[in-house]
């Protein structure tokens, strides 16, 4: 539920839905007030955030290796120069001092200074969060629309060729490593057929403006968006299908049919909206995961976003940046989960009264 790595337990196609999303709903109790519910959820999110910040600091301090040596790799530097560089980044301070600086700076919105780019981390992340949201947002929307639509159709015609074919395709796509799919797509459509650019977000050094720029960006987006969406939509398809199947066993549908409603209407007016309830919540929870799942896709397609930044900082041991992306990614997921909790309560008919 978090990202491509843990496309994992509790997140597998066709897994028990209620268990997946409902557990938190019984705590706080259903009868509790809106305010109390929101407060408890917000409190939980805040605690998670604090833990992320703590982990963000210490995790990147225990990685062995002196990042400053990397900066000066293979160049003429004196030990004195190294010391100057270490001082610039506060690496000569005791750990506790570094931690305190980290905390106070973070409260000011300052995530430190990148070793490699000589630029504030906040600025670096600010530059890249837009492209990441654009890419993941488009991929998410596309996969939601396609996934839900096919999902409900497949459920409605369970056992049909349409159902079998689509469930089969979804299961196969589910089993594909995203980065490999990206490589194949890149090799085929950008490499051999030359239909799309091989990477980046826009044609470099072009002075396209306005609508031309929009077209240019969209052209660059096609392959990464399709790669991301291909794996994710399978998830939504399976969830929607399972959810609708359960809904279809409800007595009220039989009642509706008995009343003489057309099959089509039964589906559109009754079953689908009710099946959407758990699905929408689940999707919201998974959104944060999609964003951080961008690491491999952005790397393959050189998309100038947070995921690619994370990968680069990893190979360059740019701790402040890694730390920053870690905190930001986690924050996005935490916020999304919080919204999912709220949304669930808003949408759940049992809870709304």
């Amino acid at each position: 539920m978090t990202d491509t790595l843990s496309r994992g337990p509790g997140d597998s196609p066709g897994l028990g839905l209620e268990a997946d999303i409902a557990p938190d709903i019984d705590e706080p109790k259903r009868s509790s007030s809106w305010a109390r519910y929101t407060l408890v959820k917000a409190g939980g999110a805040a605690i998670s955030m604090v833990m992320v910040i703590l982990l963000g600091f210490f995790a990147f301090r225990i990685i062995p290796g002196d990042p400053v040596r990397l900066l000066t790799d293979g160049r003429q530097v004196s030990p004195e120069q190294l010391d100057i560089i270490r001082d610039t980044y506060g690496l000569n301070d005791p750990l506790i001092v570094q931690f305190f600086t980290y905390l106070t700076d973070m409260l000011k919105g300052d995530l430190g200074q990148s070793f490699v780019y000589n630029q504030p981390v906040t600025e670096l992340i600010g530059e890249r969060i837009g492209p990441t949201l654009l890419l993941s947002g488009t991929a998410a929307l596309l996969s939601i629309v396609v996934g839900l639509w096919i999902g409900q159709r497949a459920a409605w015609k369970r056992g049909s060729f349409f159902d079998k074919a689509n469930t089969g395709i979804a299961l196969i796509l589910w089993s594909v490593p995203t980065f490999w799919l990206g490589m194949l797509v890149l090799m085929t459509f950008a490499g051999s057929l030359k239909l799309f650019p091989t990477g980046g977000m826009m044609t470099v050094a072009s002075d396209a403006q306005g609508f031309d720029l929009f077209l240019d960006i969209a052209h660059h987006m096609v392959l990464p968006v399709l790669t991301m969406a291909a794996v994710v939509y399978a998830h939504y398809l399976m969830v929607m299908r399972a959810s609708l199947l359960e809904e279809m066993s409800g007595d009220y549908l039989t009642t509706a049919r008995a009343k003489g409603l057309r099959e089509d209407l039964v589906r559109r007016r009754h079953a689908v909206p009710n099946a959407l309830l758990p699905t929408v919540t689940l999707i919201f929870m998974a959104l944060g995961g999609i964003i951080s799942g961008a690491v491999t896709v952005e790397t393959i397609f050189s998309w100038p976003g947070l995921g690619y930044l994370t990968f680069q900082s990893l190979s360059q041991q740019d701790y402040p940046v890694l730390q920053g992306t870690f905190v930001v990614f986690s924050a996005i997921v935490i916020v999304m989960n919080f919204f999912a909790d709220l949304l669930y309560r808003v949408l759940d008919p049992r809870l709304r009264k």
């Binding site: 066709g14 990685i63 799919l181």
Partner: protein, 324 residues
């Protein structure tokens, strides 16, 4: 107009009921134990029979059987010297030929041989990492469902935290700290992917513990340990088993992703490492499809096997999931 077939599955219903029945054997009498044991054994047989009767289940079992056989008999299928670039005679990056059915890699080794040997690491890591994840997830989930008050709050916070933390980044940090290797990858995947299972198990635990026989057990003076061990664990196990099978597939993908990012074991051949090598030597640009396609297809094949089997198991164990 057809109505969805939603007749409750009798076998599975019986299973749940059986679990409910044996509540009263609070003491550990040998005979009672044997009865329970036999019951579980026959239940396992029934489940397997059901799995084999579904097309998905049988496909999954077949795929996994092939993969496991290939992994076990790798030395027979491809001599280990095939992996030694100093012993091979073929040129580098050769397209498929009679001698090398899948061509050669950038060091002149047969891609087919690499593929055969790579199955070992992928299966080993997938299964082991999932076991780690399942053990942590089951324990944490049962504890979070069983206990109340402060300990529950703390457990829930920990689970929630592991759900939100970007596991890829966390796994990267773990790998960097412990040094790349098979064990590192197993731990990194296991430690970062258990939270979903914990949620699942917790919710199942809550359901089980709300049943009346648990209240009776409490009334008879059962300890926490007894309740968890004798009632909750057996009730969540089937779900965990199905979940495990599904999770192995995800763990295999995770292994390939970490290897691709350069955190794999440099001393062993794995499918992820093959893809990394293909990517970093520019195989994509050069059009060496025979080095890029097979490892990825192998991953898809095995992951699909685990997913199909897992879904078949799940639909049998969880009656409300039938036919999904």
């Amino acid at each position: 107009m057809t109505l969805p077939d939603n007749k409750p599955d009798t076998l599975a219903m019986r299973m749940v009921e059986l679990d409910g029945e044996h509540v009263h054997t609070l003491d550990g009498k040998v005979s009672a134990r044997r009865v329970v044991w036999n019951r579980r054994l026959s239940r396992f047989r029934e489940i397997m029979r059901e799995v084999v009767s579904t097309p998905g289940g049988i496909a999954g079992i077949l795929i996994l059987a092939i993969a496991i056989l290939v992994a076990i008999f790798a030395p027979l299928l491809a001599p280990e010297t095939d992996l030694d670039p100093t012993k091979v005679t073929s040129g580098v990056n050769e397209p498929p030929s009679a001698e090398n059915p899948l061509g050669t890699d950038p060091l002149g080794r047969s891609v087919l041989s690499l593929l055969v040997w790579g199955s070992r690491i992928s299966l080993l890591v997938g299964v082991s990492a999932t076991l780690v994840s399942m053990i942590i997830g089951t324990i944490m989930g049962m504890a979070a469902g069983h206990f109340t008050g402060v300990s529950n709050a703390i457990l829930m916070r920990i689970i929630d935290f592991f759900i939100v933390v970007p596991s890829l980044v966390l796994a990267i940090v773990l790998s960097a700290t412990m040094g790349p290797g098979v064990l590192t990858i197993i731990i990194a995947i296991g430690v970062t992917s258990w939270a979903g299972t914990a949620r699942l198990v917790r919710s199942q635990t809550l359901t089980v513990e709300s049943r009346s026989y648990i209240e009776r057990a409490w009334a008879l003076g059962a300890t926490d340990w007894h309740i968890i061990n004798k009632h909750v664990l057996p009730a969540v196990m089937p779900l965990v088993m199905a979940n495990t099978t599904l999770a192995v597939g995800s763990a295999i993908i995770a292994e390939s992703t970490l290897s691709f990012l350069g955190l794999g074991d440099p001393n062993a051949v794995s499918w992820g490492a093959m893809l990394k090598s293909a990517f970093s030597t520019g195989a994509a640009t050069a059009g060496y499809w025979w080095y890029m396609l097979p490892p990825g297809l192998a991953i898809v094949f095995v992951v699909l096997g685990f997913t199909l089997l897992g879904r078949a198991l799940e639909s049998i164990i969880n009656p409300t999931m039938r036919g999904r």
